[in-house]
């Protein structure tokens, strides 16, 4: 986090409106040096805990790529988009308290309701129903599409509502194209088939065709619902599905659903919900969703490799328990294993996750994605990842 910018903001934000300002390490692509900074605060007028996201505005001296990320013109467009979103009050989007342009330091402030991110909660099969029912796309013309649905960008409010957060990732459907200004999302959460379609469409620079934006949105919703049952995933989708250790009924159900998704067939989340309800009715409601303590069966024993030996590290990483020296230690282990098994994509994907989401170092991420692409030049996921990292690096 750029400390100077954060300090300037602490002085600039009206103390009679925002109390108990506390800088927050939110992670994610925009939280790197030069990007957005986050605070938690109490919003005094409404007496509600809030999450503040501040985008520093880069002046005319900014490079073209930096301008595309946090340039003044982009922030003006972003402000207009966020104000529209706030005024339309979407039921499954976090409450936005304020969208304000600050002069000193020049920045865009977005204040929203403070929620508990799904990634900070244990997976919960009951949530899968809510996710499928509430977050799927709708056909009306004023619908909004979230471009990065994941456990980090979905939260539960104090009154137990499921909402999408990170509102700057939301785009309104306006005609046959959706104007995606910053195509930032977690590529490992999507099947390769859909990634290829996206890569092709985004490279035209004309926005994203509505059907494809809806397809991506719904695919991410289905994957999120699966995670609610199977456990949070940072791994490539294909491997996660193969290695899931959920209860037999849910594993069978999601194996089938996700196998279909992996082939690029994205069903409506509501139809997936109907099928999930049938499975849920046939199993005991009180049965735990995740068979965490179940003894490993023969097939999983066969899969027990070096990858499995680092399961504890992966879990600790996702629970944000790896910091400083421990994070570096984990990265060193991953690098050693990636060098020893360069053809195994999992090591590269895990390394990318560490660099992007936890180290938040675009330089390190660029090195890793380049190394991964040397080994897997045709991988659409890595190629798209490189594209996003280059924008970030700029």
């Amino acid at each position: 986090m750029p400390q100077d910018f954060a300090d300037q903001l602490m002085e600039a934000l009206p103390a009679g409106i925002w109390a108990e300002l506390t800088p927050r390490d939110a992670g994610g692509m925009m939280a790197h040096e030069g990007g957005a900074v986050h605070f938690t605060a109490r919003w005094i007028p409404g007496n509600r805990p809030s999450h503040l996201k501040c985008f520093p505005s880069r002046g005319e001296s900014a490079s073209a790529t930096a301008a595309s990320l946090v340039g003044h013109e982009r922030l003006v467009r972003l402000r207009a988009r966020l104000e529209r979103l706030r005024n339309q009050r979407q039921p499954f989007v976090v409450d936005i308290f304020a969208v304000e342009e600050l002069n000193n330091p020049p920045a865009l402030l977005v204040a929203m309701e403070l929620v508990t991110q799904l990634r900070d909660r244990p997976p919960d099969a009951a949530l899968a129903h809510q996710v499928l029912e509430q977050l799927g796309t709708r056909d009306d013309q004023t619908a909004w599409i979230h471009f990065d649905i994941c456990p980090k960008n979905t939260g539960i409010t104090a009154d137990n509502r499921l909402v999408l957060i990170d509102p700057d990732s939301m785009y309104q459907v306006e005609g046959p194209q959706v104007g995606i200004s910053l195509p930032a999302f977690k590529s490992w959460r999507l099947p390769i088939v859909i990634l290829r379609e996206l890569q092709q469409a985004l490279s035209s620079g004309l926005g994203l065709p509505l059907h494809l934006a809806q397809k991506k949105h719904n695919a991410e919703v289905i994957v999120l619902a699966a995670e609610c049952c199977l456990g949070w995933s940072g791994r490539p989708l294909e491997e996660w599905v193969a290695n899931s250790n959920a209860s037999p009924e849910l594993r069978t159900f999601w194996d089938k659903e996700l196998a279909s998704l992996l082939q690029g067939r994205v069903d409506s989340p509501l139809r997936v919900l109907d099928r999930l309800r049938k499975v849920s009715r046939s199993t005991s409601a009180s049965a735990p969703a995740i068979a965490a303590e179940a003894p490993p069966d023969d097939s999983s024993l066969a899969r027990a490799t070096q990858w499995e030996s680092l399961a504890g590290w992966r879990r600790a990483l996702r629970l944000d328990q790896l910091r400083g020296g421990r994070l570096l230690d984990y990265k060193r282990r991953l690098l050693a294993l990636a060098e020893a098994n360069p053809s195994d994509k999992r090591w590269w994907q895990e390394l990318l996750l560490v660099s992007v989401a936890y180290e938040r170092s675009p330089v390190a991420a660029k090195q890793i994605v380049e190394a991964a692409l040397k080994q897997h030049p045709d991988d659409a996921g890595f190629a798209l990842e490189r594209q996003v990292i280059e924008v970030w690096l700029a």
Binding site: M10, E11, P14, A15, G16, I17, A19, R42, I44, P45, G46, N47
Partner: protein, 311 residues
């Protein structure tokens, strides 16, 4: 109505803050208006509160317990405005005990049946803000004074009241009902805040006896009986101010009254005769129906008896 407040939507309030330890509107750090930074920005009843003898008020308040500050209140009213003043403890820059006072002024419509709810919410806003600003100002961050001096502490003084809790609604319902009864009420306040412009003391008869030499009040809102008792001539019941005209009935001559009675008796006779006629018509109808149903009834009962015999 004050022009600025008339633009304030119903359900919104203008907030003003008094505190100690910051050089804002004056060059001293004494207790003073800090929001808005200049008293010229105050309107209507806010000016009444600003004109209070705050040093004397503070002397009394600081002698008491901080925990009791939240129970102090002042509600000033006029034809179309109300202001709720609340207190909370704070600290000045030398960490000495201090007090923050917050006024929340809102539009007020005396014909509104929900006025008590509006008052309760406005009071809650004032108290909540006093408590939160007490903590914010006690933190004494270096940039606070700069923000206060440049009116950036609260860029917009208008706060929404609608979302506030309605704490102590029954009390405010009774206070509003009592104010409605008496002409001359400028406000109701506890002893600590009575000098901010209220002329009705909220408390007990004992409290009244204790403060009588110090405060000039026109009435007591007895916290036990929950009603206002006037003291002196300052308050007059609205019903005495506009006594209703007694209704006078026109004298009707005896002959006219007798004629009217006869006419009524005649009408009643006619109605009784009509009812008798309708009764006989109904009886005739019942007889006809009975005659029609008789054979059917006989047939059914015969069949029924035969059936039972077989069984």
């Amino acid at each position: 109505m004050n022009p600025a407040l008339s633009h304030t939507p119903l359900g919104a309030a203008l907030v003003s803050i008094w505190a100690k330890g910051y050089r804002v509107s004056n060059s001293s750090e004494e207790f003073q208006l800090v929001v808005p930074a200049e008293s010229g920005g105050l309107q209507g009843l806010e000016q009444t509160v600003a004109a209070a003898t705050w040093p004397a008020i503070l002397d009394d308040l600081l002698r008491g317990d901080d925990r009791l500050l939240k129970d102090e209140f002042c509600l000033l009213v006029n034809q179309n405005q109300l202001i709720a003043v609340a207190l909370a403890p704070s600290r000045d820059r030398f960490r000495r005990r201090s007090v923050v006072a917050v006024g929340a002024m809102a539009a007020c419509d005396w014909s509104d049946a929900q006025l008590a709810t509006h008052v309760a919410k406005t009071r809650n806003l004032a108290l909540r803000l006093a408590q939160q600003y007490g903590e914010v100002l006690a933190a004494n961050a270096p940039h606070l004074e700069k923000q206060l001096r440049s009116n950036r502490f609260i860029p917009e003084r208008q706060f929404q009241v609608a979302g506030e809790e309605t704490a102590d609604l029954s009390l405010w319902t009774e206070i509003v009902a009592e104010i409605r009864k008496w002409r001359g009420v400028t406000g109701v306040a506890t002893a600590g805040l009575c000098r901010t412009g209220a002329n009705v003391l909220y408390g007990t008869a004992d409290e009244m006896a204790r403060v009588r030499g110090v405060l000039t009040v026109d009435g007591l809102f007895d916290s036990r009986s929950r009603s206002i008792s006037p003291i002196g001539d300052g308050l007059t019941p609205w019903s005495l101010v506009k006594p209703e005209e007694p209704k006078t009935e026109r004298k009707i001559p005896v002959e006219e009254q007798l004629a009217a009675l006869r006419s009524e008796i005649k009408d009643i006779r006619t109605e009784v005769r009509d009812m008798r006629h309708e009764g006989s018509v109904l009886r005739g109808l019942v007889t006809q129906v009975r005659e029609m149903l008789g054979p059917i009834y006989d047939f059914v009962t015969r069949k029924d008896r035969k059936g039972k015999g077989k069984g």
